[in-house]
């Protein structure tokens, strides 16, 4: 068995799965923000009991946590210092000097304050040049002075980011030694280890976030480890990372920056799993909850990995599952701007006070209120009947804030709110797909999260996506990703070379060097040779460009010119695809080389249903009036998802209700239930 734990802002989700039968048990407890391990321990006990299992039955536990994200958002990380090359302490504050794009005309728009204040940023004389040669030796006395100062100032974590350290880490390593001697309790993050690639600001930013989070994560994992040990004996704990794999707690502490945003990454993994299993290898996965709408592009069954993330406005140069997000969810608030135009979000009513219809004191109209007014949500069956929704309060909120001002009916206003929030999501999807050169018209859309299936089919029609997949249990689906993740480690470094002048054997040697490190790590984590998978890739560009495309390189100990040619061809092809042109005569260069080490987790077997009839009448709950853009209010079939069977066909318009979510099939769409209970929707009426 495997156990997944996903700590979120409001709830902590637990999912227990039996490898052999595929039987799944879900549980939710309230997150305990003051001491996260309390909620975690409580939920573990409950989910094991529900599943009739003990910890002995559990092979391993995968843990996704927002502890890093929260520490970053609330600026509650460690007291952190930064050591740079003398003359460059302000690189972290100046950054790229650019004003934020959200405020081209707004004097008040500003980038976030750096995580390390200037008093704890210190330069030391030293310099490595662009060839990796030391041209100014490290002034060790200066280093000692700085470290002593940090110790006096109670700085508990130190980031070190020197110019060109990715070419020659000697000075950074020496500084680490000095820190260990003088201030042995301090945590140390070296830029040459956290993110060994060029562009000093981005590398420093990544290293600083790592340092900022290390002590927090370490303390949390130690507490959890102790509690688990005490109650259950030895537990094999793995930590989810934003790159989409899991790692041991020790590796996680070393690469603390990689746990930020790992929640949405888990969602994207779930999405890609279903995409592949429903024969949609190219798909978009969208996860819509109460406050945010997360989007990930899936290609050939894998979520796209990006090497340039941004957390809280700070650039992060590590491999991340490329999840785009916008502030659109069930709780998003509708408002009129100064000119009287309707906008929705990014402010959200969250869960407290929540949408007006929750009757928890919220008075502002939200997307959930609009869906309720339009008949798409069942007021008696929200959260499986766990919460009653008040239709009157929803109407009142919309009427007071929107309808009265605009002179529209409440229904018109509600449908307008849905159209605006959908337009926001369409824009978000474009950023994650078409802006990267993909034509989504032959993609599938995998939709989950509490609110995802409410909007997905309409969204698909807007964008021109022909197929939508609504997985089983969409409201809990994100945590499922934890259980199907592989062990993963990424190694990379800047290796800037023109491909034409490059000896293929030398390139192979460089790859092999990193590969050896990778294999050692997998072995240390108990991954056998058979489950290990090693992937080589290179970031490439035309000489003179500033942005790279990541190209797979076939692993080969004796690389030949022919193999290099293939890599160059692949680069040209991708360049053509993404940017609509390629230049065969131009010189191509490699910028970074990357080795990804994957320890494959055993495949899960999911339970299959027996084929039933096309007719879904056994699941029909009744009819009610629901609003659709195309038809206005019309009588619509309501189905109970838990009673749907393999082979059932659902003709839109119709509504499918289940405990944690509601699916809306708009007119001219047709759903079919597959053997695993997923609803596969064909979207008609697009362009």
């Amino acid at each position: 068995m495997r156990l997944g734990i996903d700590v979120g802002g409001t709830f902590t989700d637990f999912v227990l799965i039996d490898d052999k039968t595929g039987e799944t048990t879900y549980e939710k407890v309230l997150t305990t923000p003051k001491n996260l391990s309390v909620g975690v321990m409580k939920g573990i006990g409950r989910v094991l009991k529900m599943g009739g299992a003990t910890m002995k039955d559990v092979d391993y536990v995968v843990h996704g946590t927002t502890i890093g994200t929260n520490a970053l958002i609330q600026r509650k990380g460690a007291r952190t210092g930064l050591i740079t090359t003398d003359g460059f302490v302000d690189v972290l504050e100046i950054g790229r000097f650019q004003r934020p794009k959200e405020g081209l005309y707004d004097f008040y728009a500003r980038n976030p304050e750096p995580l390390v204040p200037r008093r704890w940023r210190k330069g030391v004389p030293e310099r490595v040049d662009r060839n990796g040669k030391v041209i100014r030796p490290l002034d060790e006395e200066a280093v000692q002075k700085v470290v002593k100062f940090f110790k006096r100032e109670k700085v508990e974590s130190i980031a070190v980011s020197l110019l060109f350290s990715f070419l020659n880490p000697k000075h950074e390593k020496r500084i680490a030694k000095v820190i260990n001697e003088i201030h042995p309790k301090a945590y140390v993050s070296l830029s040459s280890e956290v993110s060994p690639e060029f562009r000093e600001y981005e590398r420093s930013s990544t290293t600083v976030i790592n340092a900022y989070l290390q002590p927090i994560l370490d303390r949390y994992l130690q507490t959890l480890h102790k509690k688990l040990n005490k109650k259950y004996g030895k537990v094999d704990l793995r930590i989810m990372q934003v790159g989409g794999g899991m790692m041991t707690p020790e590796s996680a502490i070393g690469m603390a920056v990689s746990i930020v945003n790992s929640g949405p990454a888990g969602g994207a993994i779930s999405g890609s799993y279903i995409a592949e299993h429903t024969k949609n290898p190219d798909a978009l996965s969208v996860d819509m909850g109460g406050t945010s709408f997360d989007i990930c592009l899936i290609e050939r069954g894998e979520p796209t990995i990006s090497t340039e993330g941004k957390f809280e406005g700070f650039p992060v140069k590590i491999p991340v599952v490329d999840v785009g997000g916008i502030g659109a969810g069930g709780g998003s608030i509708a408002w009129l701007d100064v000119g009287g135009i309707l906008n929705v979000g990014p402010q959200s009513a969250g869960s407290d006070p929540g949408p007006a219809c929750y009757s928890l004191g919220g008075t502002k109209p939200t997307v959930t209120d609009a869906n309720l007014v339009l008949g798409r949500l069942n007021p008696e069956y929200f959260l499986g009947g766990g919460m009653n929704l008040d239709h009157k309060l929803a109407e009142k909120a919309i009427n007071e804030h929107i309808s009265k001002e605009l002179g529209w009916s409440v229904e018109e206003s509600a449908s307008g709110m849905i159209r605006v929030v959908n337009a926001n999501m369409v824009k978000g999807i474009s950023v994650s797909s078409t802006e990267k050169g993909h034509d989504v018209r032959d993609f599938g859309l995998v939709a989950f999260g509490g609110a995802g299936p409410l909007h997905a089919v309409q969204l698909a029609r807007e964008i021109g996506i022909p197929r939508v997949v609504i997985p089983m249990l969409p409201g809990n689906f994100s945590a499922f990703g934890l259980l199907i993740s592989d062990t993963r480690h990424d190694y990379w470094r800047t290796f800037k070379q023109s491909v034409a002048d490059l000896d293929p054997k030398r390139l192979a040697r460089e790859f092999l060097k990193m590969e050896r490190k990778a294999r050692r790590q997998l072995k240390a984590e108990g991954v056998g040779e058979k489950q290990s998978k090693i992937l080589w890739t290179a970031d490439m560009r035309y000489q003179g460009q500033s942005y790279e495309l990541n190209i797979p390189v076939k692993r080969s100990e004796r690389m030949t010119t022919k193999e290099m040619k293939k890599v160059m061809n692949d680069f040209s092809k991708l360049h053509q695809e993404v940017y609509q042109y390629s230049s065969p005569d131009e010189e191509i260069e490699i910028v970074n080389i990357r080795v990804r080490a994957v320890g494959k987790s055993p495949k899960l077997k999911m339970p299959k249903m027996k084929k039933s009839t096309k007719d879904a009448k056994q699941a029909l709950k009744g009819k009610k009036k629901v609003f659709f853009d195309e038809t206005g209010f019309r009588s619509t079939n309501i189905y109970d998802r838990s009673k749907l069977r393999y082979g059932n066909v659902l003709k839109g318009p119709c509504i499918v209700e289940e405990r944690m979510s509601t699916s809306v099939l708009i007119p001219d769409s047709t759903g079919e239930v597959d053997a695993y209970g997923n609803i596969l929707v064909k979207v008609g009426g697009g362009r």
């Binding site: 003359g87 460059f88 302490v89 302000d90 504050e93 100046i94 790229r96 000097f97 650019q98 004003r99 794009k101 959200e102 081209l104 005309y105 707004d106 004097f107 008040y108 500003r110 980038n111 204040p117 200037r118 008093r119 060109f164 060029f198 562009r199 000093e200 600001y201 701007d337 100064v338 000119g339 135009i341 309707l342 906008n343 605009l406 159209r419 605006v420 337009a423 369409v426 824009k427 474009s430 950023v431 078409t434 802006e435 800037k496 035309y542 003179g544 460009q545 500033s546 942005y547 940017y579 609509q580 042109y581 230049s583 853009d629 195309e630 007119p667 001219d668 009426g685 697009g686 362009r687």
Partner: protein, 558 residues
């Protein structure tokens, strides 16, 4: 047959189409940056993209430099006068960089393409990119001392670079023959064209989905909406005549100070802007073409009246600009204009001084007011290199908060180039890049700090062509806030450190260091009223010295 949603030009569809158009403009910018070769485009991002209707009115803009954005329309309208719908075919791309045809400066190459839907011309897409070299007297075209546009580089009138998707070889040949690093620059121009084509395809999708009438009605509605908001913002400013004055150091030819005066007349929901009191055009290359002047005026008016209005042509309607021909803000042929940013930044500064009297709570104190642009060039291993370094400085303090250290202000929206990227590409070494202590103008809210950047050269015979400003008069403070600090350029060689003129050309040898000291922003409000906590924070962070804390802020240890 599937039913299709019938769209009407209602306010919701308007909002939906607005989002789509803004997204397309951003995608165009993204394509341009990702495929370009020169750091000034791909790292600094001195570019922009926009979408226009068939008359040349702006519908949407990419989130890039407002300096290029708000003046863009002028060039577009010139084009619409030059080419009738019959002269424009699908796949055509028109190129121009002529400041006297509504352009900016020679370096800013613009490409436009008509958007057709069915057989009809429905609009245009445009791009601007600052090319790193367009020929002329000095690499990068940025030197002070030039006196005629002919010295500044190849001036391309509005000509077709592509005809029905086919390269116009003749035009390419002329350009190639006149520039220093043709491979890079031609690659960059092609990146602009790629961006045009990407935009066209996406806009056609919008038309396909909503139909021509709905799109056009929504666009009209959107512009009216922006106009309404802008008028509302102007109405909130008290009626009156407000004047402000800023000074440009010199024109790079003589040492005379050059006044830029802006007079703003607010009446009801309109503003009229004139330049009475502003210098006539000058011999040096700091003259500001009318498109750049428009950009500076509209930028400031939008920022003060309603910074979150959707930026399109509607915003421009309630603002009338009267810039007499022959003034430095509307020069005539053959005035040189390469260093126009010095003047345009000063227009913004003068306007903010004027508007401070009308809306003290909506303005910013004086910012660095210049863009220090240095073009370095030489030979390395037999190959020509041109490296352009662009730097701003400290922003002014705001009515409620300090100027943000390490963040640019006004008009431009550039990124700096990573030190490691520069060193990997050019024979230079950056020795220092940091904030300058005590450079932010003292105030209840402090001006943002100035910057220092030291660049060392690893080869002989490097030319350093440059223009900077705000080296004679510091950025202004407001309401008791003190002035910021002036900028300075230094040359450090084996004879020691000495000042270099703000505009001109020098020659450098191996191991010489160019040290740029960029101006710090002005303060807002009486510094003696600054929170003690903030003074102590600045002290701890070394942003101010103890001496300055005592003298400027009346600080004493408890």
């Amino acid at each position: 047959m599937a039913k299709r949603m019938k769209y009407t030009a209602d306010p919701i569809t308007m909002q939906v189409i607005r989002f789509a158009m803004e997204q397309i403009a951003d995608e165009m910018g993204y394509t341009l940056v990702r495929t370009a070769r020169s750091p000034i485009i791909k790292e600094i991002m001195d570019i922009t993209c926009a979408i226009f209707d068939d008359k040349g009115d702006t519908i949407a803009q990419a989130h890039h430099a407002p300096m290029l954005l708000t003046g863009f329309e002028l060039t577009m309208k010139t084009l619409a006068r030059h080419f009738g719908p019959k002269d424009l075919h699908p796949g055509d791309v028109i190129i121009s960089n002529d400041p006297y045809m509504g352009g900016q400066h020679i370096m800013d190459v613009q490409t436009f393409a008509p958007v057709h839907y069915g057989k009809n011309l429905v609009g245009f897409v445009g791009t601007i990119a600052h090319q790193s070299d367009m020929g002329g007297m000095v690499p990068g075209g940025v030197a002070g001392g030039m006196t005629e546009i002919y010295q500044e580089g190849l001036r391309i009138p509005m000509v077709k670079l592509y005809k029905r998707y086919k390269e116009n070889e003749d035009v390419f040949a002329i350009i190639r023959n006149n520039i220093r690093v043709p491979d890079n620059t031609i690659g960059d121009i092609k990146a602009q064209v790629a961006s045009n084509y990407v935009g066209i395809k996406k806009i056609q999708n919008v038309y396909r989905k909503y139909g021509v009438d709905v799109v056009h009605n929504c666009v009209r509605r959107l512009m009216n909406y922006s106009e309404t908001r802008m008028r509302e913002g102007l109405r909130n400013l008290p009626d009156g005549n407000y004047s402000g004055k800023a000074v440009i150091d010199n024109d790079g030819v003589t040492d005379d100070l050059i006044p830029v005066q802006v007079n703003i007349h607010i009446k009801d929901d309109t503003a009229k802007v004139d330049f009475k009191g502003t210098s006539k055009q000058v011999r040096g290359n700091i003259n500001c073409p009318i498109a750049t002047t428009y950009a500076a005026v509209f930028y400031t008016m939008i920022a003060v009246a309603d910074p979150h209005v959707p930026p399109n042509s509607g915003c421009y309607r309630p603002v009338e600009i009267d810039a007499q021909e022959g003034l430095i803000v509307n020069p005539t042929l053959p005035s040189a204009v390469a260093a126009r940013t010095n003047c345009s930044q000063k227009i913004v500064e003068a306007m903010l001084q004027a508007l401070a009297k009308a809306a003290p709570d909506k303005v910013m104190a004086g910012s660095h007011g210049q863009i220090s642009t240095c073009g370095f060039s030489g030979y390395y291993k037999g190959k020509r290199w041109v490296y352009t370094d662009i730097q701003g400085g400290g922003a002014g303090a705001l009515p409620t908060v300090d100027g943000k250290d390490g963040q640019d202000s006004h008009l431009a929206r550039f990124m700096n180039t990573p030190i490691e990227a520069i060193e990997l590409e050019y024979p230079v070494r950056i020795e220092r890049f940091e904030l300058i202590q005590d450079s932010g103008g003292p105030g209840k809210h402090r001006g943002a700090m100035g910057l220092r950047r030291d660049i060392m050269f690893l080869v002989d015979n490097v030319s350093w062509a440059r223009y900077g400003d705000t080296q004679e008069r510091p950025p202004f403070g407001l309401f008791g806030g003190k002035e910021g600090t002036k900028g300075r350029f230094y040359l450090i060689d084996n004879k020691g450190e000495r000042r270099a003129r703000s505009k001109g050309v020098s020659f450098l040898n191996k191991w010489d260091i160019v040290s740029l000291r960029l101006p710090g922003g002005g303060g807002y409000g009486n510094p003696r009223k600054r929170d003690r906590e903030l003074v102590e924070k600045d002290l701890l962070d070394g942003k101010i010295s103890l001496r300055s804390a005592k003298r400027e802020y009346g600080y004493s240890k408890k």
